[in-house]
Amino acid sequence: MRMGLEFAKTGAARYISHLDLQRAFSRTIRRSGLPVKLSEGFNPHYVVSFASALALGMESVCECVEMVLAKDMEPGEFLRSIAKALPPGLEARRAAVLPESAPKLMAALRSAEYTVDIDGKIDAIALAAHAIMGEAQVLADKTSKGVTKRIDIRGMIDDIWWHDGRLMMRLAAAPEGSLRPELVLDVLGKQAGAFEYRVTRTGLYTRDKGKLIDLLTFCQTYE
């Protein structure tokens, strides 16, 4: 049986890298005693598959992971057991049985929502954000493995808006390409002047017949 789990990664746990997170889950599973299947082969290990890697240092309230159970169980019972075994900073939020036919979480993911807390300069940033959404092209400098490239990120910005005094962004997060929120914030900083911020990932989404839908819910109700 496929089981999906949504969890939060906050506090000191935001400094856990993706590789270390996989190991933390494997140890959590062993501590929990849950009937998660081990891989075949010489070096058996628990197979857990994350929807998306979270950047080191960022907090999230919506990370998703899936695993295969050797026997059926209620999602509520699964949630209670894994919640007890998770280390500090990782918090289980909801569990859902995923039908065999549903795509992998990773494959279904299309976009991620980020909530940005900002100190001051809100008016200038709001103006800059509004301007970005009206542009056909937005150039940003992306540094990867020490090489900086100028790329057009406009197509990977789904939306930017304000909610409760916080800047909200929904950005592409898909196997074909993902956009890091820092790149957008750099562009805003160039226009509005540098500012301090703190980003939290607050949603993972897919698209179903053109409509935006929560990733775990989509896979859970897949027919």
Partner: protein
């Protein structure tokens, strides 16, 4: 508590920030009250190394079982973090409560290798603590140190208030209790140190006056104010019943030894003459197999680790090794938990036991013949024959293994070029044996790793008097061996930097005059000296020159039997006379049997520590 907003800003820009956050599963949380005695375990290397250190983990959890005491952890910050802390004007702090080191009652440094000493100075300075013990006022922490290097702690004598000699689980609770009494009545550092020197296993270096002869050797070691003439090491008597943590901290970062460890045995009876651990950790004490099995089960349930390792100096000599390995492998069968047995002695490697191990996981074949010829192995009392190596290797090859690791030392006393080239002969023979195995049983090409360390003579061993081989000679031997190994296909050759081994030899057998060199090297930027990417030999050379100290005096000088050695003040229970007789037997290439087969009168029994 330090400014955590400032800390967050620097963490995002340093490598591996999880080194500096704490908050792992298993971390001890306590409420700090006005009368809480606060202890910080300080490990002078990065988090991943320190979190792999069994002794620190054991003592951290043990001290936290004491009422009114809270032990926390601190590791050496990597250079990027050191710089960030300095730029942000943040002091070095504990992981649990983010408290600056200067606010602790006691700091306990773990000294397991000489090349971590500059990091001790770095941690003291970053923690806001005066470097030299005599500069410390009544306020501020008592700086203590323990671990293998304290059996000659003289190079750090100026920086450390007191050393714990022997096993910390015996000494620390007594020391902390004494501290709490002094805390109640108004703390006076020198009165406390004086009282502490009365606890067996506590060495207070400031309570000894050292005088030197014209030739630089030690003239006398004079205890003051009632300090003992020699400090006797402490040992755990009932090892089976002694404390062992089964809910250790589970690091988020991948650490060096990322697994559950059970401590099978302390001490070793083999008596290899180069091996300091074999002498200072006597006598041999075993933990019962049933205790170990229970501890392993509890620790796996509490941590969720994927590997269990059995730790000791010579696990193959453990009297219940076969039952332990078989039971553990059955216990964890099908759970994805594997079993690792390090430090396997060649002559204890048996078929049935090896087969069982392979069922769980192939851990590879590792032997430590240490020397290239039988003659030299007899000199060092490493009682392994070439036949042992070849028989075990053939058996492993026939079951489909293709990789072997061999560990050797270079620069052993009495070594000739023939001994060095003997290493290449062993490699060539192993390759021949591999290709004698029928092709259908072989698993790929032959792979042999030959790792050769430079011999460092250590205190409290029969070789404590001998000169270390010169850097020029070691470099030449390394080159000759490299040439001899080159034609043998499938061999990977690793060797140690002779310059680093020379420094190790200086500090291993150094006296307290070396504190000037340490401080000078530290001030010029030496840090993490055992990390090759950060090791800077030129800075060390300058430190010797500016302080006028000759490293050869310590590394490459043959000592006379009557010389007063800087570590004579430490009494391990093994007599100097026994060590000298072992040195002489070594020179005559005479071996000494395992003392389980009959007492060799090393002195432990007479000291009341054995039998």
């Amino acid at each position: 508590m330090i400014d955590t907003d400032k800390l967050e800003k620097i963490l995002i820009n340093v490598s591996k920030p999880a080194r500096y956050t704490g908050g792992e599963l298993g971390e001890i949380k306590k409420k700090v009250k006005a009368d809480t005695t606060r202890f910080a375990f300080c490990f002078p290397d990065v988090y991943e190394v320190g979190m792999s250190h069994l002794g620190t983990s054991l003592l951290y959890h043990l001290v936290n079982t004491l009422d009114g005491v809270y032990a926390e952890r601190c590791f050496a910050p990597w250079p990027d973090m050191e710089q960030a802390l300095r730029e942000a004007a943040l002091p070095l702090y504990s992981l649990e409560t983010k408290t600056p080191l200067s606010e602790f009652d006691m700091l306990g440094f773990s000294l397991s290798y000489e090349m971590s000493y500059t990091n001790v100075l770095m941690m003291l300075e970053l923690g806001g603590i005066p470097l030299r013990a005599k500069e410390r006022e009544n306020s501020g922490p008592v700086v203590i140190a323990g671990g293998g290097c304290t059996y000659n702690s003289e190079p750090l004598a100026e920086f450390i208030d007191l050393f714990v000699i022997g096993e910390g689980e015996e000494v620390l609770p007594e020391l902390i209790e004494l501290y709490r009494k002094h805390q109640d009545t108004g703390f006076d550092r020198s009165a406390f140190l004086c009282a502490a020197s009365g606890i067996e296993g506590i060495y207070v270096p400031s309570m000894y006056d050292v005088a030197y002869n014209d030739d630089g050797t030690i003239k006398s070691y004079q205890p003051k104010n009632g300090a003992p003439a020699r400090v006797k090491k402490r040992v755990v008597r009932d090892f089976d019943a002694s404390y062992y943590p089964t809910s250790p901290i589970v690091p988020y970062l991948g650490v060096v030894h990322d697994r559950v460890t059970v401590e099978v045995m302390r001490g070793c009876t083999r008596g290899c003459r180069f091996c300091q651990a074999g002498f200072i950790y006597r006598p041999v004490r075993e933990r019962g197999a049933d205790t170990l099995i229970r501890q392993a089960q509890e620790a796996i349930a509490n941590t969720g680790h994927e590997e269990v390792s059995m730790c000791s100096l010579s696990t193959g000599d453990y009297s219940e090794v076969a039952r332990l390995v078989c039971t553990l492998s059955d216990t964890f069968a099908g759970s994805g938990v594997s079993l690792a047995v390090p430090s396997l002695r060649l002559d204890s490697f048996e078929g049935e036991y090896a087969a069982k191990l392979r069922e769980v996981r192939n851990t590879g074949l590792t032997f430590a013949p240490e020397a290239g010829t039988q003659r030299l192995r007899d000199v060092i009392n490493k009682n392994i024959t070439e036949n042992d190596i070849f028989t075990a290797a053939r058996e492993a090859f026939e079951t489909g293994q293709n990789g072997v690791k061999l560990y050797f030392m270079m620069g052993l006393p009495g070594e000739t070029m023939e001994d060095v080239l003997g290493i290449a002969d062993i490699a060539a023979r192993l390759r021949d044996i591999y290709y004698q195995v029928p092709k259908e049983n072989r698993n790929g090409g032959f792979k042999l790793t030959v790792s050769v360390a430079c011999f460092v003579p250590k205190p409290h061993t029969p070789f404590q008097w001998v000169a270390q081989d010169s850097m020029a000679s070691l470099t030449e031997k390394q080159r000759r061996l490299k040439d001899a190994l080159r034609p043998i296909k499938g061999v990977k050759y690793n060797w140690h930097d002779a310059r680093l081994s020379m420094l190790e030899a200086v500090f291993a057998r150094g006296d307290r005059r070396l504190s000037a060199v340490l401080e000078s090297a530290y001030r010029s930027g030496c840090r993490f000296d055992s990390w090759m990417e950060l090791f800077n030999f030129e800075k060390w050379q300058t430190a010797f020159e500016t302080t006028g100290i000759d490293p050869d005096f310590y590394a490459s000088r043959e000592r006379k039997s009557e010389e007063i050695l800087p570590w004579d003040v430490i009494d391990t229970g093994v007599s100097k006379a026994y060590l000298w007789s072992e040195k002489q037997r070594g020179e005559a290439a005479l071996t000494t049997p395992d003392c389980r087969k009959g007492c060799m009168s090393c002195g432990m029994r007479e000291a009341g520590l054995c039998g």
